[in-house]
Symmetry: C2
Subunit: 224 residues, 2 copies
């Protein structure tokens, strides 16, 4: 199965590489990185660029589509007819259409989530609602064809879920051992529901300052 990872300027690297590493470990998946034009695509941290191998035009029938999120790069893509058309066209044929983090905003902008349950980075839930989706807060939200997941690191869980769907429990168990996925997070601050408001405010400000200007911060709220 061909799995096309959509790259665009300002994508978040782990959103793409987390699911890539999991899917690349599954025997039946053939990954390809695609973009409007082949060549290096800078992530939202400019130090990191990934190579797109093929153009969207050259990639018409992937069986899996993976859309990574971004700090602000999604805003440009939401106005890019070629990419939204590609998402609509590939989704008409793909077996699985998946997103990580704010990648779901692109699926929504393409009209694929109208009135449907989906998830995104916690800071983008309101944006996802504005784009017509219903927000679910599970880490991985599986509608059958469309699978969305929460922020950045969630793509690993999403892809392992996808491997299980495609190839079954035994293969997914093997993939998990192959990448030694035995996570040991230091804190219990991975989900907004379990974080104190002051920490959430700190992170909103940090994301805003790193480029996510669409995130309102305690300071900017004073002027709203």
């Amino acid at each position: 199965m061909q799995a096309a990872f959509l790259l665009y300027p300002g994508f978040t690297a782990l959103d793409a590489i987390g699911p890539f590493q999991v899917l690349a470990s599954a025997p039946g998946v053939d990954p390809v990185f695609v973009a409007k034009q082949p060549g290096p695509i800078a992530s939202d941290t400019p130090a990191c660029s990934l190579m797109a191998q093929r153009s969207l035009v050259e990639t018409q029938r992937p069986e899996i589509v993976v859309v990574p999120g971004s700090l602000s790069g999604f805003q440009g893509v939401m106005e890019d007819t070629e990419t939204l058309d590609w998402l609509r066209a590939t989704s008409a044929h793909a077996t699985y259409v998946t997103s990580v983090c704010t990648g779901s905003l692109l699926l929504a902008a393409a009209g694929l989530l109208d009135g449907r349950a989906a998830t995104t980075h916690w800071a983008a839930r309101e944006l996802l609602v504005e784009l017509g989706a219903t927000v679910a807060t599970e880490r991985v939200v599986d509608l059958g064809q469309i699978i969305t997941s929460t922020g950045v690191s969630s793509g690993i869980d999403m892809a392992l879920h996808l491997v299980r769907r495609i190839e079954g429990d035994d293969v997914a168990r093997a993939v998990q051992l192959g990448i030694e996925y035995d996570p040991q997070p230091l804190f219990d601050t991975g989900a907004i529901e379990r974080c104190p408001p002051a920490l959430v405010a700190t992170v909103r400000t940090a994301l805003h300052d790193r480029g996510a200007r669409w995130i309102s911060t305690p300071a900017s709220n004073n002027y709203q």
Copy 2:
């Protein structure tokens, strides 16, 4: 603090991008991808290439060094004097020298782990011992300057540990929320100690077939 991520042909993408995403979220860290020559460097899944921005020669004094592992690419680097010399030279000045997965074999080949405790991918523990280190099986092994971690996905935990050491608990908590690191692995197969022998044999064969010829498999064992 400059954090230099060493790229080399056949590196494992998530080994580099996991810690990159965590460290790039910390306010005081300036990441850079380095290789013998700048330009695209293919990972062990050729579909994925990352851009190296700077050569080793141009990167003499990083404060953090991150060495990703690989299915088999490390074998070439272990015979590459320039890269091993660079690891020794940067380690003489760096505050933190870190590795993910089989990246620790490169630290060992450079002579940085002689008689010291370190970890690696579970399939490479014997190789690490052959190179003079003592194998520890914790997910993250912190000797003070040198920090090694287990296979592939462990770099996220290693880097969060490093952010805590550099910038303290509050910043590390914020980074964890920023990347929504609330892992929910499907199975309890992330650590070899908790896996049945048949699953371990399956994964050894899969890794061998994907390029890690140094891993003995049940079949190849018949001829030993």
